[in-house]
């Protein structure tokens, strides 16, 4: 049996049921709005969004792997490329680009020029510290953790704060090998 070629992000995106983009954007907006009301502190909202993203990410990875036929990546740079070209396309309908790969290939940036989460959004003065899309960084962190990579994901640029692009920095902290989970005397 020949190995199945990985599917492109476009092919998968074309084949899944989609929801109305506006409904999606507004639903996400409603969640952020509710969190702001419930938690009051912007910092807390950032944390909560990240945690929610993490919980999504640890599930999303299996759907991603099942539908894309992607197998293990050779290095971290390829991982970032796959997230940018296949992952973002498959789940958000946009693609990102990978830049600023550092010398040892453990840190790089994902640049998003088009971000469907932020249509209609303007940050008011009261929410200046808010990372509106913080759910995305949590998703990436959670998904990568499930494929044995501990990462740190931070926003470097945010268009809602006046930058030109959205830039997410993904930093590989360590790779966690699989270990035999039982003790011998159990």
């Amino acid at each position: 049996m020949a190995p199945v070629a990985p599917r492109s992000g476009d092919a998968i995106f074309a084949n899944v049921e989609r929801v109305n983009a506006e409904l999606f954007t507004l639903t996400y907006g409603a969640i952020v709005r509710q969190l702001l009301t419930d938690l009051e502190e912007v910092e807390e909202v950032n944390k909560q969004l990240d945690q929610m993203g993490y919980n999504i990410g640890i599930r999303l990875i299996d759907e991603f792997l099942a539908k894309s036929n992607v197998s293990r990546c050779v290095d971290f740079k390829e991982t970032a490329e796959v997230i940018a070209k296949v992952g973002f396309k498959m789940f958000l309908g946009v693609t990102a680009s990978v830049t600023n790969v550092d010398a040892d290939g453990t840190c790089c940036s994902l640049i998003l020029e088009d971000n469907p989460l932020v249509d209609f959004v303007e940050l008011p003065d009261t929410c200046q510290g808010l990372y509106y899309c913080n759910i995305l960084s949590g998703i990436i962190r959670g998904a990568l953790e499930m494929v044995s990579m501990k990462t740190e994901v931070t926003w470097l640029h945010d268009m809602l704060r006046g930058d030109d692009v959205y830039e997410l920095q993904v930093k590989l902290l360590k790779q966690v090998p699989e270990e035999y989970p039982y003790k011998d005397d159990e």
Partner: protein, 169 residues
């Protein structure tokens, strides 16, 4: 217009290789060795209690995987025997056959392991295991009330799985 319909389960189920119900049992483990699912269709002999049985199966796969990687003549770079590997690393076996049964095995890069034990004359089940992985995604992972890492108690998944495995060669 359907907004929240289920997405297609790809690939579509591969055609059965032989007809007849000859699956014995199936295991699903996660990356931490937790047995998420154990289904039994035809297993006259039980020698161990369920927990020991799961542990034995997981241990078998774990050792066999590192053994097969160690024996790989095509790759220059390999770990030492017993040294932990990243899931999906190196070469990996997908089935073995004894004179009384065949064990098919699939591991996703996220560490989900699916094991299907069938009649020894069953054909290649790699596509079928992949399809079962897709079922797991659709019926278990996407269920918001399922807590990841806990045993699967999901009627819909079990029924669909039973149906699919019964039709399997």
């Amino acid at each position: 217009m359907q907004f929240f319909g289920g997405s297609e389960i790809s690939p579509s189920p591969p055609a059965p290789t032989v007809s007849g119900n000859n699956a014995h049992m199936m295991y699903v483990f996660n990356r931490n060795g937790v047995c998420l699912l154990y289904r039994e269709w035809n297993r006259p002999l039980h020698t161990l209690n369920a927990q020991q049985d799961h542990k034995l199966m997981f241990g078998l796969l774990f050792s066999l995987k590192s053994l097969t990687a160690k024996m790989d003549p095509t790759s220059a770079e390999k770990g030492n025997l017993g040294v932990p590997q990243l899931p999906g690393q190196g070469c990996s076996f997908h089935s073995f056959r004894t004179n009384t049964y065949k064990l098919s095995f699939m591991e996703s890069p996220s560490g989900i392991k699916i094991i299907l034990v069938t009649h020894p004359r069953t054909g290649d089940l790699r596509d079928s295991l992949k399809y079962i992985y897709n079922l797991y995604v659709e019926y278990v992972v996407k269920n918001p009330l399922y807590t990841p890492g806990t045993p699967i108690r999901c009627e819909l998944f079990n029924t669909t799985l039973d149906q699919y495995v019964r039709g399997l060669g």
